[in-house]
């Protein structure tokens, strides 16, 4: 694998050159929080972060998006689908767990039987420049769910912080092309051995792996297990875990009218909201936190394996750190495995 090197001081300039060709999304600081947003200048990018509060899924799957607009609510009228993005998108400084979530979403929205034009409009030609995690948080568990702090899967370039410089690992042709005009120096032996030390230290600092072997087989026998009553007891049915989760993709479709016309929107939704499954008759097949929390875990760790061969968790730890009642998915998975 080719490896180049770039000075930290040169990153802003590198981003500025990318901005000429791409719509660039990068971590930025808003008050105390780091979120992903579109940047218009290389200086906006804030790379010295651990985990962004919201996940970069919103770049591919906005919290609300217009499916189509209409100038009149008469259904005979023509509806208009918003035109796609003009410039290809580039995500910069995304951590490997979040990159894994992009691959996850691809298997949902870009599969043989269902190709989502809205999603693909944003995803196709997208370039991913990721950044290895030299300081994984204690709540990170990517290695327990098939990822790793320096995983290259899904990236075109991977940056690794070695102090004043980043090693730039070239993963794909797209990545190679991206570096084309940047004329970066080769990393060289010394830097590579420094990188090796940095990555080994980071990997060693990861919290012990969760013992969740055979989780799916367990779950498949546990739908009626009384443990669900206890696991979900403190859940308050808010949407924090699902909205911050990089793989939660469930959505709602609603209409909004303005003047004589309006639009049909696709919005994030959450399986933790009672309204998610409430029927017009008043009947709700998932009436309490027990059924809703069970659905979340089952969907992520069993149903998704059956339906698209992957689990719905990348181990980013957002739901762990942000749950208002400290309902920790790591503890839940462990409790299930110990059942």
């Amino acid at each position: 694998m080719k490896a180049k090197v770039i000075k930290k001081d040169d990153i802003a300039g590198f981003l500025d050159s990318l901005l000429k060709e791409y719509e660039v999304f990068a971590p930025v600081k808003r008050d105390r929080l780091v979120v992903f947003d579109r940047i218009h200048s290389g200086k906006e990018a804030f790379l010295n972060y651990t985990t962004s509060i919201t996940s970069p899924k919103e770049i591919l799957l906005p919290q609300s998006e217009t499916l189509f607009t209409y100038s009149s609510t008469d259904s005979a009228a023509d509806v208009e689908v918003p035109s796609g993005e003009e410039r290809p998108r580039l995500i910069f400084g995304i951590h490997p767990c979040d990159v894994k979530s992009l691959i996850f979403l691809d298997r949902i929205f870009n599969e043989e039987e269902y190709k989502d034009a809205y999603y693909l409009g944003r995803r196709h030609a997208m370039v991913v420049v990721s950044m290895g995690c030299i300081k994984p948080r204690a709540t990170c568990f990517c290695t327990s769910v098939g990822g790793g702090p320096f995983s290259t899967e899904g990236s075109d370039l991977l940056l690794i912080d070695i102090g004043d410089e980043y090693i730039v690992q070239v993963i794909s042709d797209k990545g190679e092309k991206l570096l084309g005009k940047a004329h970066l120096e080769d990393a060289g032996e010394d830097r590579l051995s420094l990188m090796k030390r940095v990555t080994q230290d980071a990997e060693a600092s990861m919290a012990p792996k969760l013992n969740i072997d055979g989780l799916k087989e367990k779950l498949d026998k546990m739908f009626d297990d009384p443990i669900w009553d206890l696991l979900a007891e403190k859940c308050i049915s808010c949407g924090v875990c699902t909205y911050l989760c990089p793989t939660c993709y469930c959505f709602d479709i609603v209409d909004e009218t303005r003047n004589s016309g309006g639009e049909r929107l696709r919005l994030w939704d959450s399986c933790q909201f009672p309204l998610f499954t409430l029927q017009a008759s008043g009947e709700n097949p998932r009436p309490t936190t027990k059924e809703r929390y069970r659905q979340r875990i089952m969907h992520k760790f069993s149903y998704l394996i059956d339906n698209c061969g992957q689990i719905g968790c990348v181990g980013c730890g957002r739901c762990v750190t942000e749950c208002p009642v400290n309902l920790d998915i790591r503890q839940v998975l462990t409790a299930i495995s110990n059942r």
């Binding site: 919290q63 808010c238 609603v254 762990v320 920790d328």
Partner: protein, 317 residues
């Protein structure tokens, strides 16, 4: 802060042993440093899990609504205030709940500590008296807990339980009644600046409704935001819709908000939610002389009136 964990366990064990209640809601050690988490205790042995420390910040009254069984609850000042309101609103029968009141010395704002430490992650902590010792990879830091209390705790005039059946720990000195200086200060700014500030805050909102769901007084079966028929506000993160969501969320809590700060702590986006709640609390106190959750007898301010209520706001022609 005195460690009352042992005393709480003792009381709870006795209650369960004597079958006084079926369930006790309290706090146990959380899964991360600087976290405690709600726990549900149904038998004597499990009572060992109960703890009391500077991180018991959830308002447990949230879990009392529509419970079938008789419950005991570990309650700080603000939890008891919420319980009082829930009792008055007939959500919790008084004889179905045993309140284990605990005088509170304020809870610690872990986000503020974490923000100050930047990337130095706290991996372990110890609490002794008023000192918190924080340990991480290559650092140890000791801070005074009282300097890191949540904003709502700093202003809290009701640290002691406003009602209780059992009291654990010694009553603490209450500070002077809240004069809402932050609200007065904000109000002194030009309207446009206030508008811009609140617009900026609501723009952070992702409509996850954690503020609503963490609130002990938000128990409506169907929330106004979920209504489709009529649909009062749009469901996107459009600034105006979100602005109205926050205005009306606060308004629905007028005279009911016990200022526990659960909404703000639950918010992952750190929206300044209490800016609105506290305005209403200040107005309710000024106009109607009511402070939520402080009395079981006083009628809720929006459930009553006086013929001579202030009406200086009415259009004079």
């Amino acid at each position: 802060m005195p460690d009352l964990s042992a005393k709480i366990r003792e009381v709870v064990q006795k209650m369960l042993r004597e079958q006084e209640v079926e369930l006790v809601i309290g706090f146990e050690q959380g899964s991360m440093p600087l976290h405690s988490t709600p726990c549900f205790i149904r038998n004597e042995e499990d009572a060992q899990r109960l703890v009391w420390n500077s991180f018991c910040d959830n308002n447990l009254a949230k879990y009392l609504v529509k419970r079938p069984e008789k419950v005991a609850i570990v309650a700080k000042g603000c939890d008891t205030r919420a319980i009082v309101e829930l009792i008055k609103e007939k959500q919790v029968p008084r004889d179905q709940v045993v309140i284990i009141g605990i005088p509170c010395q304020g809870m610690v704002d872990r986000r503020r500590i974490e923000a100050e430490l930047e990337l130095n992650e706290i991996l372990e902590y110890e609490e002794q008296d008023n000192k918190l010792t924080l340990k991480g990879d290559g650092f140890t830091k000791t801070v005074n807990r009282d300097e890191y209390l949540y904003p709502c705790c700093q202003a809290c005039p009701h640290k002691n339980p406003t009602t209780y059946d059992i009291l654990i720990g010694d009553m603490v000195a209450e500070q002077a009644p809240d004069q809402y200086p932050d609200i007065a200060e904000f109000e002194a700014k030009p309207p446009e600046e206030r508008w811009q500030y609140i617009s900026g805050e609501v723009n952070k909102c992702i409509r996850c409704y954690a503020c609503r769901n963490a609130c002990p007084l938000c128990y409506c079966k169907e929330c106004f935001v979920d209504k489709t028929h009529p649909q009062w506000i749009g469901k996107t993160t459009d600034t105006n819709d979100t602005f109205i969501f926050h205005l009306m969320r606060a308004f629905h809590l007028a005279g009911r908000c016990v200022e526990c700060g659960a909404c703000e702590r639950a918010c992952p986006m750190e929206v300044d939610i209490r800016k609105l709640n506290r305005k209403l609390a200040a107005d309710v106190k000024e106009l109607f002389g009511y402070e939520a959750g402080t009395s079981l007898d006083q009628i809720a301010p929006l459930a009553t009136f006086r013929p001579d209520d202030p009406e200086e706001f009415m259009l004079g022609v």
